[in-house]
Amino acid sequence: MKDNNDELVARFLQSRCKEIEDNDFSERVIRNLPERRLDISRILNFICFAICAFLFIKFDGFIIIFEFVSELFAAKSHILSQDINYNSLFIAFGVLLCIGIERICSLKW
């Protein structure tokens, strides 16, 4: 009786055991691997960076920045030279110097 059951079940299940076609399944798995995703993200980053760099150079980005900074500096230096407080400047310089020395001394060699 038990052998009959075994034979019946084995025959039924084995007759329904079929190979499954790949149908792009493996391609889907490879596409979704974490490193592959990382690679795609790196490529996209590089492409975006290249486009930005190209547009920056094409529209004279350096000249625009240089002009803007020089205008800003000229305007501010004119204002600064009029009412500069040398005492405050001296104290600020002294504090920064102390902090710098302390940081250098705290480094482990």
């Binding site: 059951n5 039924f12 299940l13 084995q14 055991c17 790949d22 399944f25 490879i30």
Partner: protein, 180 residues
């Protein structure tokens, strides 16, 4: 020979991050792993493909932990088995169902049409653990000790599940005129 090939491919993936070698492994094992899920989910092909994909991705990310104590296919089946039981656990938490059987029956009525309907109806008579044992033993032709490795339970318990599952399935088949 196949086992040596598998180890060579695994080594290429781990050492050189060779995606082509992993692709070869996926192509080799996609059919048994997808078939395993198809039987566990009672014919839900979309779900079984998603779970199979998760299995291969998990295998890829933890390939360096493959110690060659068992064959690569046993190791892969163990991941697949864990992925399936994690899925069941998450479903139970989400839906608040006590058993997966209710869901399984629903799937059978909804989707298992066509040539394999009788197979999925038969498998739906079994508990999940019995279904895993029966399909691994009869359809994937795995030995008891390998099934024990995959499911992480003793061989004696596997034999009990197989015996109970076989009896239930045999009764279903007899009641549906498959005995000749």
């Amino acid at each position: 020979m196949g086992q040596i090939n598998d180890i060579a491919l695994v080594a290429q993936v781990v050492v050189f991050k060779n995606i082509k070698a992993f692709d070869t492994l996926v192509k080799k094992y996609q059919s048994p792993i997808r078939r395993f899920f198809l039987h566990q989910t009672l014919g839900d092909s979309e779900l079984s493909d998603d779970l199979a994909q998760e299995t291969f991705i998990k295998a890829y990310t933890s390939l360096s932990s493959f110690k060659n104590l068992s064959s690569f296919s046993t190791w892969l089946y163990r991941i697949a088995y864990n992925v399936f039981y994690d899925y069941i656990r998450s479903r139970k938490e989400e839906c608040g169902l006590d058993t997966y059987e209710v869901d399984a029956q629903y799937h059978t009525e909804q989707k298992a049409v066509g040539e394999h309907m009788d197979l999925y109806l038969g498998l739906s008579q079994l508990k999940e653990v019995e279904r895993s044992c029966i399909t691994l033993f009869y359809m994937e032709d795995l030995a008891l000790d390998r099934i024990s490795d995959i499911m992480g339970i003793p061989t004696g318990t596997i034999k009990s599940h197989l015996s109970r599952g076989k009896e239930k399935l045999a009764n279903f088949l007899k009641n549906n005129g498959y005995e000749r």
